[in-house]
Symmetry: none
Subunit: 202 residues, 4 copies
DNA sequence: AATGAATGAGAGTTCATTCAT
DNA sequence: TATGAATGAACTCTCATTCAT
């Protein structure tokens, strides 16, 4: 989930006022894209929500695509920054995957818009969509290898397991994070941890 | 991946010529939506590809939304009809999940457009998007309950496991069905079956 | 002044109604471009004048540039078609140049917009601008060579004379055709013919 | 090519720094207008090229139109100042016209942008366009009258001849000054002088 | 049942000009 | 005098939908 979009040249604000305006536009865009999706969201709706004039949009972004990419990059970084410390704090092996999932569920509940934005990237900016999931899987696979090396999980863990785990996490986030909150995050994480512990036992 | 309401799918043709035209429009729409996504695909591109006049579109469908819904319904039914027999033919328990995944991977490789179409439903027709995944999970959960009743898997299987399995399947389909075919479907299904067998052992 | 713009594909009207609409747009565009120039003339003003909806413009032309090129081509052909018979009817030598100028002055008085449209091509479509003048000069040079071969003018006529004659004609058209009509076309043509006769005498 | 009203040319700078900034803006504008034409050239491109802030433009010019008029005036004066001494140095009659043309061709080769700027005035500021050519013709006509009075050319020279000569010069400048330099200025001027000498012989 | 011209609301984007600092 | 952010009207172009034939 790394930042993939280089900022377009000559659009960086040079004053404080400029930085405030740019931030307001990004926040407004997140809200509009989440509600309406990329194509239905209009720049004029974004600027209206941000409280700036239509033309001011182009002081900070080259196009509708550009602000979308900036946003995907923004959100990717936010998830990673939220989840990473929880994982590091866990002792190792399955505990790390459990911590990652629980932390992810917590993040999703506070940022329900993330699904619509990342998913829409599949259509608006396929490269960043693939990159987002590819790096996420890489991190999972890396952790599994380390755990295997320490004998905490079976030695034959491989890429298929990493994709399976990511898929689980994404859909559990959708179901128990975005759609309904009828189970606690700890509860869901416990069930999965138990499942993983057996499935990956050495 | 359940079928949407059939009555909303358009105006039923009365003649053979009409049925051919309607089918041509659906096929053209599948191709256009897969390539460009819902919003970028235009009715005129669909009719051009189908080889009919622009105005004829409205003889068969009420709107762009309507043909999209008809298409999602179409594809949902196709997957189900492809996967269901494979599952029924499997002896039971984990073997059924294995058969379902392998069959699904095979279908996806021949219908790579399915991801873009179903995913876009999240934005175009959220109800059908939720319905699609909800019914899929229901079927998985139902099979798990039966397997538990027969003592083939642990007794405490529950909804969380069903969502986890669906998430795995969806992302494995994306990775090993759509993006790359560097592993055989049997191979991927074996890894997952082994993983499930341990994770869900009684 | 040859037709230089190939018609864009798929925009040719297929019905009579379509042909009428296309013609109305071309006429309206000639009027608007003459009054306001290319950049100030707006497509909405053109369609308003033509009495059709804004969107109908794009049924017949791909862009503002496209209708402009179609128009330059149209006008180039009109001048040529108007002037050519007058020249052919003249006995030869200087008489042909005299007939060409007089006929040109007559045309210009009825199509004062031609100057603004051809001149603006320098900015909008430089290739057609150069082509317009290059072919005009070619025709003059060709006539001079023939006249020289027949001994009607001096043997050393050359390209410089052709450019000089075209320049004269263009500016006399501007002054005595577009700006003011205080001299008869015959009168102006007589003065020039006498001047040429001496200047090019064998 | 007469000077426009000086007072409309902008706000006179009071300091040296101001004068330098104003000059930089004029030079940048000449380059931008020549490349893109009036409407496509933007104030922000001009200020960027001049190396000053966008807002500073309005310290020196009231509008985009204003700087354009200042520029036309500037260029008109430059041509006149370049050509006039060459004409004065010539002995009289046809020699003066020859000197005027050769000097003009030389100027044009070093200032190819002059055509695009003066020609565009037809659309941006028609008054200055007419004024430019009217005064040029006046000077030619005046010289012809003097030459006639001295018996150097025929007695019946008149306005039509003056317009013809100006037209010749303008197009010869375009062809042998701007578009290609495949003939020396002296060569072209010689051909024309010979042509004029005969055409206007007393 | 089929055609394709017509419609017009609405989109993204540009840019001359203003203004607070 | 210089800066650059802010403004908003105006533009070109798209396209789902309607309708006369």
């Amino acid at each position: 989930m790394g930042g993939m979009a280089a900022e377009s040249a000559g659009k960086e604000p040079r004053t404080d006022r400029g930085r405030r305006t740019r931030r307001a536009l990004l926040d407004a865009a997140a809200a509009e894209f989440a509600t309406d999706g990329f194509h239905l969201a209009s720049i004029s709706a974004i600027t209206r929500r941000a409280g700036v004039a239509l033309g001011s949009f182009y002081t900070y972004f080259d196009s509708k695509d550009a602000i979308f990419r900036a946003l995907v990059s923004d959100m990717s970084e936010q998830v990673r920054d939220h989840v990473a410390p929880a994982i590091r704090a866990a002792p190792g092996g399955i505990a790390r995957e459990r911590a990652g999932l629980e932390s992810f569920l917590g993040f999703v509940r506070q940022h329900k818009e993330i699904y619509r934005i990342i998913d829409e990237a599949e259509f608006v900016d396929p490269a960043s969509f693939r990159h987002h999931y590819a790096t996420t899987v890489d991190r999972i696979a890396h952790r599994l290898e380390e755990a295997a090396a320490r004998g905490e999980v079976r030695a034959d863990v491989e890429e298929v397991h990493a994709w399976a785990i990511m898929g689980m996490n994404v859909f559990l986030g959708l179901r128990y994070g975005v759609w309904e909150e009828d189970r606690s995050t700890a509860d869901v994480a416990d069930v999965v941890a138990d499942f993983l512990a057996r499935g990956l036992a050495g």
